[in-house]
Symmetry: C2
Subunit: 329 residues, 2 copies
């Protein structure tokens, strides 16, 4: 294990990843199964997960090809969850294009999704065999189960009037954070960090995921629609149990709580304005921003606490965190 | 590795398996995710797959607990495929009870199915780690991918007027045989048979699966509905591309072929009688029965060829094969 102080830049890592991703061949038979996978993996997203893994893997080691394959496997898993979630949520677009079940049919969404999951596990298993670290697989399985639990929890919120903060945090942790945390941790393990440091990498991913999701809810309401590219307050219009609503119900008096619930469940033409007024009155913009900042600060504290990383590595992690969280969309 | 000549009987193995299966706890949270799994795994099927694995595992070794867990993992995987197939095929009943998507909703069929798959891989990985044989996992992954490919191939037949015998055999091999073959092979590997003998176990499972599926098509048309418990010629009514149709189209003259295709695609009230007449004329009952018997005989030849098994083991395999294929339903 050699600590590398001549680091590849984040941009370089992203470029290497995209080059690798393009080289993966999904032009296989039967077409009905593989065409949707090719389509989905061609809709390039932010690639946060592969970059998370590669960044840590690159601090110490030059298992380039293996790390790239592991990064791809985790992105494939992430895309499997998107395909099945889109089907379950009846979403119409993903990354600006029609979702798999709309473009190729329900059977394709189910079967191609299943295949993506199996391939992701198969590829990851191959990586860990190459690295002689088969004991890393359970980290992946446990994450995968949590992701399914998180999606189920999220769906169960739809039929609830009030969601507890604790349950909301559990849901976003399972649905978003654990996958990011696993990418950090597996990257750290591939790179060669010891158990204690790997655990810190995991916690960092968890915190980043929570900050990211809370920010997502915040931007939906307070972001600039011309920048986010999304309808303003789409979550409110769909009566989603966002952190803004949960925090508002938490701090409101009984009377305000009742008014808020009444208006949140209805879909009056002026719904957004009414909700905005109540949120203003309760200082929700600031309260949720502070919650976001508390997780962001926790990320920085975790970065400080790595004992086997140099300042140059820590700076790269900081850059990455900033890149993820300094966004308007 | 000790060759055990005091074999447990097939009944005993089945009992041990069912006892183990009942002890697995799916009473977990969130309920929305785990209740459908508990329901599905409670609808006891024939348990052919676990029995296949346990029979071979028991010939040589007494890794009882580990073998039982591996057997359960494969049954869990099989049930995952049933949950997703039922959703895709819009089936209403499974083992005489409502299917998951009808009882719990589409989201449950998708997510609980996904979780069953992940748990099956996780459990199997644990078994192979206990046995210090992590290199067995790829056998499972390759099977899982083939099963998805087979289901896609099966679906693609719906829009085709004519299916080639070669494609039909590929489909049933992927959809049914490879899982059974994998159970035999993994059982043999857990038991301690060498690579050559494991490969024979795999081929045996492949042949048995083909014989089973061909028999299934045959029974649908020529079986006694009061015994099969299914509607007579349900496949014909649903215009399924069965081996009977494929063989009939294969041997028929151009004129008969045309008549057969015309009647097969329509749904006249006397469809079954018309098809029956054409099949009789072409001797399809006998032709397909002979195809079935050729695979059944191949099973027997493979059993003969095992060099590390005693006659007592071979007899148990023969009993098992007879139990699977001597059926009316």
């Amino acid at each position: 294990m050699t600590l590398d102080t001549k680091l590849k830049s984040l941009v370089q890592l992203a470029e290497e990843y995209h080059k690798f991703a393009k080289s993966v061949n999904w032009n296989l038979h039967p077409k009905g199964l593989y065409e949707p996978i090719q389509y989905m993996m061609g809709l390039q997203g932010k690639s946060l997960r592969p970059q998370s893994l590669l960044m840590f893997a690159n601090f110490f080691s030059h298992q380039d090809e293996t790390a790239l394959k592991a990064a791809y496997a985790l992105e494939l898993f992430h895309n499997f969850t998107l395909v099945h979630d889109d089907l379950v949520d009846q979403s119409e677009t993903r990354r600006g294009k029609p979702t798999i079940h709309l473009k190729f049919g329900v059977h394709a969404a189910v079967l191609s999704g299943d295949s993506m999951m199996i391939y992701s596990i198969k590829m990851l298993n191959e990586c860990f065999s190459e690295l002689n670290k088969p004991d890393l697989m359970p980290i992946f399985y446990n994450m995968a189960i949590e992701v399914c639990e998180g999606q189920d929890l999220d769906m169960s919120f739809e039929s609830k009037q009030i969601v507890l903060l604790e349950d909301y945090l559990k849901m976003i942790r399972q649905k978003t954070s654990v996958l990011l945390a696993t990418c950090f941790k597996l990257g750290a393990a591939i790179g060669g960090l010891d158990r204690k440091e790997r655990q810190k990498a995991y916690q960092l991913g968890e915190c980043l995921g929570l900050a990211f999701q809370i920010q997502d809810d915040w931007l939906d309401f307070y972001g600039d629609p011309s920048i986010t590219g999304k309808q303003r307050a789409g979550d409110v219009l769909r009566c989603k149990k966002t952190i803004l609503l949960i925090k508002a119900l938490d701090v409101a008096s009984e009377t305000v709580k009742e008014t808020l619930l009444k208006h949140y469940q209805q879909n009056e033409p002026n719904k957004i304005e009414v909700i905005d007024q109540i949120f203003n009155q309760l200082q929700i913009r600031q309260i949720v921003y502070e919650l976001f900042m508390s997780y962001r600060n926790e990320c920085n504290q975790i970065i400080e606490s790595f004992t086997s990383l140099h300042e140059i590595h820590k700076n790269q992690i900081r850059d990455f965190i900033n890149q993820v969280l300094n966004r308007n969309s």
